[in-house]
Symmetry: C2
Subunit: 384 residues, 2 copies
C-alpha cells in the first residue's frame, strides 16, 4: 500500500475530514498521535494501544538514536518490528528535542552539535543525518530537520531560523531522494517555521510547497505563545499549503483546543500532554482536569468520568486510582495513561463525526468544559 491522502469533506471553517493511507494501514483524520518516545507509549502495552483503536503513533528520533541506537533498530527490522507495532508510525527529526537541550547544543548552518542528556557524549545532527537515522528507523512518515526557536523571538531571529529550516528542508529532501531505494515506502514531510510572524509563516509555507512534499508540518508553535496566536500562525501556514496534502501541527494540544487546530485545516497532531499528565496524576474529564492525588477522592467510589466508556472508568474507582497514585504503584501510570489516551481519541472521534455531520460548532461548545482546571470541577462532579 503506497502513501496516499484523501480529503473526504471540508466544512465552512476549513476543518477537513480525511483519510491517510500508509504502508501500515489507514489513518482517519483529523487524528491525534500519542507519543511513543523510546519505542513505547509509557505504561501501555501494544495490545492496549490496539484496544484503544490507535492507528498511528509517534516515535522520537533523538531518543531512539541515543538509546538503543538507530543501527540496532535497523538490524532488528526497523521500528515497527522492534516495538511490535503493526500500525502506522511517524518519527520526528530529533530537532525539537535537540533545541530543547538549551545549554547542551550549538547551531550552525551545517547542523546542530549537542550533548546527550544520558551520558554527556557529543553528537552532530545534520539534515542528512536526521534522515539517515529516520530511514534506519523506517517509520511510515519521516520529518525534515528544522530549527526550532523560543517564544518570544525577534523577527530577525525568526527569519533567520525559517531560512535555515528551508535550506535544511532542501538538503533533507535531496538526501532522502538519493537514499530512496533503502526505504521505498517511506515519505518525508517538510516543516513550516517563521515564529510568531505571519509574513514569515506565509513565506515558509510557500517556499516549502514548491519543494512538493507529500505532507507538511507546522512547527515551532505551542512553545509558550497565546493560544490565539498559535491558531493565527497555523491558519497562515495552512492557507499557503496545498489543500491535497496532509498537515500536521506539531506538539499540540490541550483537549479543549483540539477543535481549534482542526478548524485551521490541521489533519494530524501530537502531544505528550495526555500521557505525561497521566503519570503526574492529572486526568482529563468532560468537566475539566481531575488531580487524583486530591484528598477529596480518597473515598470516592465513582469512576474518573461517569460518561467515559474506557475500561478504566468501567472498572476502577477514583478511590482506588488515588490509592495507587499515592502508593506510587506502576498501575497508577498504566491506568491513568489508558484513560487519558482514550479521552483524547474519543474527542478526535467526535470531531470527525462532527465534521461529517456539519456540527463542529456544537461540539466546540461542549468541549470547552474540558478546559476547567482541577479547582474548577463543578461541585456535583467533584463531590463523592
Amino acid at each position: 500500500m503506497a502513501f496516499q491522502f484523501e480529503v473526504l469533506k471540508t466544512d465552512a471553517s476549513g476543518a477537513r475530514l480525511g483519510r491517510l493511507t500508509t504502508p501500515h494501514g489507514a489513518v482517519d483524520t483529523p487524528v491525534f498521535m500519542p507519543v511513543g518516545t523510546a519505542a513505547t507509549v509509557k505504561g501501555l502495552t501494544q495490545q492496549a494501544l490496539r484496544e484503544l483503536g490507535l492507528q498511528i503513533l509517534l516515535g522520537n528520533t533523538y531518543h531512539l538514536y541515543l538509546r538503543p541506537g538507530h543501527e540496532l533498530i535497523r538490524r532488528l527490522g526497523g521500528l515497527h518490528q522492534f516495538m511490535a507495532w503493526s500500525g502506522a508510525l511517524l518519527t520526528d527529526s530529533g530537532g525539537y528535542q535537540v533545541f530543547s537541550l538549551a545549554n547542551l547544543r550549538q547551531v550552525t548552518d551545517d547542523g546542530v552539535c549537542f550533548r546527550s542528556h544520558l551520558d554527556g557524549s557529543q553528537h552532530f545532527l545534520t539534515p542528512e543525518k536526521a534522515i539517515e537515522i529516520q530511514m534506519a528507523l523506517g517509520a511510515d512518515i519521516a520529518m525534515v530537520l528544522d530549527e526550532c526557536i523560543e517564544y518570544p523571538a525577534s523577527q530577525e531571529r525568526a527569519r533567520h531560523a525559517a531560512a535555515r529550516t528551508f535550506d535544511w528542508a532542501r538538503r533533507s529532501r535531496e538526501y532522502f531522494r538519493n537514499a530512496r531505494g533503502e526505504q521505498p515506502r517511506q515519505v518525508l514531510f517538510g516543516i513550516v517555521q517563521g515564529g510568531a510572524f505571519a509574513d514569515l509563516r506565509r513565506q515558509s509555507a510557500e517556499q516549502l510547497a514548491e519543494l512538493d512534499f507529500p505532507g507538511y508540518a507546522v512547527g515551532g508553535l505551542a512553545v509558550g505563545e497565546p493560544h490565539a496566536l498559535t491558531c493565527e500562525m497555523t491558519a497562515e501556514a495552512t492557507a499557503h499549503l496545498p489543500a491535497d496534502r496532509p498537515r500536521y501541527l506539531m506538539g499540540v494540544g490541550k483537549p479543549e483546543d483540539l477543535v481549534d487546530y482542526v478548524r485551521q485545516g490541521i489533519d494530524l497532531m501530537d502531544c505528550v500532554l495526555p500521557t505525561r499528565n497521566a503519570r503526574n496524576g492529572c486526568l482529563f474529564t468532560r468537566h475539566g482536569r481531575l488531580l487524583i492525588k486530591n484528598a477529596r477522592y480518597a473515598a470516592d467510589p465513582r469512576p474518573i468520568d461517569e460518561a467515559c466508556g474506557c475500561p478504566v472508568c468501567r472498572t476502577y474507582s477514583r478511590a482506588y486510582l488515588r490509592h495507587l497514585f499515592m502508593a506510587n504503584e506502576i498501575l497508577a501510570a498504566v491506568l491513568n495513561t489508558h484513560h487519558n489516551l482514550y479521552f483524547y481519541l474519543d474527542i478526535m472521534r467526535r470531531i470527525r463525526d462532527a465534521i461529517r455531520e456539519g456540527s463542529l460548532d456544537a461540539l466546540h461548545e461542549q468541549l470547552r468544559s474540558c478546559g476547567a482546571g482541577a479547582g474548577a470541577l463543578s461541585a456535583e462532579a467533584a463531590r463523592p
Copy 2:
C-alpha cells in the same frame, strides 16, 4: 457459594489434586497465588490477571492497614470491590511483614508493637486486631496472627514462638467466631510454626488441628534454611494436619522447587519471586534465569523463552525487552511481570496435569532446568 475443599486425587508421593470453592469462584489446586501487596499485582491490570487465568490473589494486611487503611476499604465495599477483583482473595495477617521490620518492632504475649515503614507512626497489632483488619478487607480467606522467627533460631526460641503462635491462633479464632456475623462467608486459616525442629512442627500441627480450622498454613519457612529442611519441616507439618483441609505453604518458592512442596502435600503457595524478579529484570525460562540487562540480549530477536506461549513471548523480542529495561520504561516491569507470572501459572497447570496423569516424577525432572542461574543458560539458548 460456601467455602469448600475437595481432594480429587492423591498420588504416591502425597501430592494432591484438589479444588477449593470460595465465595469468589473455584480454585484449582495445587495453586500458586501471586502477591498483590497494596491491592495491585505490581504492573498488571486486573484485566491482565484475568487473561492470565488467575483464580486467587494474595493481599498484604500490613500494607493495606497502613495505606489506604482497612476502614476506608471496608467503607468502599471490601478489598474485592476496592481493587475490582472478582476472583478469590487471601489476606495474610500482617505478621510476616511486621516481624521483618526487625528494629522497628517489639513482641509481647499481647501482640506486636511496630513502627510504620512509611511514616514511623507507632501501631500495635494483636491477634484480635489482625482479624478485625482482615474482616474489614473481607478476603475469602484470612490468616491468624503468628510469630515468625529467623533462621537459624534455638529450639527454645522456636518452642516459645510456636507456643505463642498457638495461643494467638486460639485468640484469633475466638475473635473471628464472635465477629462472624460481619463476614459470614470468610474463613480463617491457622498457621503451623516450630522453626527447624520436627517435634515442634508436629506438636504445632497437632495442636492447631484440634482447633478445627477450615484450612492450615505452614509458616516461618523459606527464611534462609536449606531447601531440604524446608521440605522436611513441611512434610512433618502436613503429616499431622487433617487430610481433608487445604494446606498453604507461605512464601514459596522458586520455579524448580514448586513440585517439591506439592509432594509434601501442599495445596497453596505464594511468593513475590516472579513479580519482584520481573521488576529487577530476572526472567524465568525453561533453561533457567535470564537477566535481561545482559548485553548479549541487545540484538537478540528471539522471545524470552521460545517454548513459552505467553503474550509477551508471542509479541516481543529480548532486544526490545532489554531496551525497555535499560531505559527504565514502565513497560519493562509490565511485560516482565506478565511473562514471569505466566511462567509460574504454567508450571502449576503442568503440575496439576501431572498429578492427574500420575507423571509427576517426569515433570520433576523437566523442571530442574528452570533452576539454572543466568550464567548457566545453555549456549544454544543464550546465543542470538
